[in-house]
């Protein structure tokens, strides 16, 4: 057993806490600075010496963002696209995961490998053919274009996550349904879905985040201001009013809210999703 009272031991404990504090500064200061700048006036942001707490606390930046229908539209677009994709992805992935988890069939192994490898396809590679497709089908600058593209990127992750979850559920449950003469379809909806809620939540959270964060396709496949999502909105704000830093920070805070809320409320599901790619 370690001796807890020796001087050297105390020194190590103190050093550890100093290192933890330094780590905290590194991790959290940039975020703190965003938050505090969003409550400052534009002149105070570059005050010398910098003010750590807003000296003249103001909500003017938030008022400017929330009072502007153009910016509210960015938020609506982001929620709408991410929400639709999440519903579609979870539904389609659930079916595929059920197939993977409960059946043996020819080509299972290679299909699984294909799905794992599609996770690493560089988005920029698909961007040019997608652009070609979207333009030729006349869906450029529409929600449909964004929803279809995001579906492709979220589906592989969602299938892997859901399959992993379904594999943890005992097979006797659905076999009981089969004994009673029920089909696999009945077993899926009557037995599997009700007990898969944690897996469904984790998959939804992760899918939503992927969509909420997407930038490259939203930048390329939409054009009119009314179709832009939050990440593009922030970039536009930057181009138009390069020096309205407090508004940019307020918009960034508002744009991070869904992620922060999900993280605080459902930390477990959040982490399950974020580390899913690496556990497989």
């Amino acid at each position: 057993m370690r001796k807890r009272n020796s001087g050297k031991d105390k020194l190590i404990t103190v050093a550890l806490h100093v290192a933890l504090a330094a780590g905290l500064f590194f991790a959290a200061f940039p975020i703190y600075w965003m938050l505090s700048s969003s409550f400052k006036s534009n002149t105070e942001i570059f005050a010398l010496p910098p003010t750590i707490l807003p000296k003249a606390f103001t909500l003017e930046a938030y008022a400017a963002i929330l009072g502007d229908p153009v910016k509210l539209r960015f938020f609506f677009n982001s929620y709408f696209v991410a929400g639709s994709v999440t519903v579609l992805t979870v539904l389609i992935a659930l079916l595929a995961a059920y197939g993977f988890s409960r059946f043996n069939f020819r080509g299972k192994g290679s299909l699984n490998t294909i799905i794992i490898s599609t996770q690493t396809i560089p988005p920029i590679t698909l961007l040019i053919p997608f652009f070609g497709l979207v333009v030729s089908y006349g869906i450029f600058d529409t929600y449909v274009a964004l929803i279809l593209t995001y579906l492709v990127f979220t589906l592989p992750y969602a299938i892997l996550l859901m399959t992993g979850y379904l594999n943890t559920l005992p097979r006797d449950l659905d076999e009981a349904v089969a004994v009673d003469g029920g089909t696999s379809w009945t077993a899926l909806w009557r037995v599997i879905v009700p007990i898969s809620l944690p897996g469904i939540v984790a998959t939804s959270v992760y899918t939503f985040l992927l969509c909420w964060n997407e930038f490259l396709f939203a930048l390329t496949l939409t054009k009119s201001t009314s179709m832009r999502t939050v990440p593009i909105g922030i970039q536009l704000l930057m181009g138009q009013h390069a020096f309205e830093w407090n508004q940019m920070m307020a918009m960034s805070v508002l744009g991070s809210l869904p992620l922060l809320l999900i993280y605080l409320v459902a930390q477990r599901y959040f982490l399950a999703g974020m580390t899913a790619g690496s556990v497989k």
Partner: protein, 298 residues
């Protein structure tokens, strides 16, 4: 009759998985694998996408890419950005995981710090870019602190000077990405059997010996697979660089993805951009094969 029923049931069992998988396979096939074939085809055409009847171009566009010094600069910047990011993500992630796992800190403090250390991960690349642009503004808080301590003598234009821009974007990315390692390693640390350490204690092992001979070897599979994934994902960086520097100044932060994007949507040279996209795809596929083989060997 029972036999008939049974064979009917068997047939259903045989077809069912394909039915369940069909929507997914349709989407992945039509919207992922087909476009991959399309982009390869584009790279061999003259004025792809823009003309209805493009002519065959042979390897012309690949030749053009390989003759372009900006392409090679982008490749080098991508490598530098990616290698530095992965190395520091791993080091910082490991340091934080070990510190949080230490029994010298009180459990409440540990839980609070764990949540706070993960924070950078929760922000979208665009927001990370905007935050770092604010921090690293010539009149911003980083310059003002560094000047106060006396590390720099005058204001540095981190993102707009060719000497510092690449380091600055890499630093921002290091900050944003270490939590993946931290979370995975922390989970790994909790999975190492306690008796390994107890046995080492009996043998009188020092702390650093336990780290080198027990902890790191036990975490190796996680370190390798996360490093590979991080490498593949970091290589694809786009928004962070697009928003902070846009690839400039004078190409000093141009990476493969920004290079390709500009070819496609600033110069509208979609054929050449496709060639460049195929090169990126090949690099990614090579790494992916390596990753899958490693996962299967485990």
């Amino acid at each position: 009759m029972t036999r008939q029923k049974r064979s009917h049931h068997k047939l259903k069992r045989a077809v069912a998985p394909y039915l369940y998988l069909s929507p997914s396979l349709l989407i992945i096939g039509l919207l992922m694998l087909l476009p991959m074939v399309t982009v390869i085809a584009y790279s061999f055409q003259n004025s792809a996408v823009l003309r209805r009847d493009p002519s065959f171009a042979g390897l012309k566009h690949y030749q053009a890419i390989f003759d372009d010094p900006v392409f090679w600069a982008s490749l080098w910047h991508t490598l530098y950005f990616t290698c530095m990011s992965v190395i520091f993500h791993m080091t910082i992630g490991m340091a934080f995981a070990l510190m949080l796992n230490s029994d010298r800190i009180n459990p409440t403090l540990r839980n609070i710090l764990r949540v706070l250390y993960i924070l950078p991960w929760l922000f979208t690349a665009v927001i990370i870019a905007v935050i770092w642009r604010l921090l690293l503004e010539p009149n911003g808080v980083v310059n003002s602190i560094l000047m106060q301590i006396g590390i720099i003598g005058s204001k540095v234009e981190w993102f707009s000077s060719p000497q510092t821009a690449l380091h600055a974007v890499t630093f921002a990315n290091i900050w944003a990405g270490y939590p993946l390692f931290m979370v995975s390693l922390l989970a790994g640390l909790q999975g190492i059997p306690k008796d390994f350490y107890e046995a080492a204690d009996i043998d009188g092992a020092k702390a650093y010996q336990k780290l080198i001979f027990i902890t790191i070897p036990q975490l190796m599979p996680i370190i390798i697979s996360i490093s590979l994934l991080d490498f593949i994902w970091t290589m694809q960086v786009f928004p962070l660089i697009w928003i902070t520097t846009g690839g400039g100044p004078i190409y000093s932060t141009e990476v493969l993805s920004t290079y390709t994007y500009k070819l496609a949507f600033s110069s509208y040279n979609l054929s050449q951009a496709s060639a460049s996209a195929v090169v990126i795809l090949l690099i990614s596929l090579g790494l992916t094969l390596f990753y899958i083989r490693y996962q299967k060997a485990r």
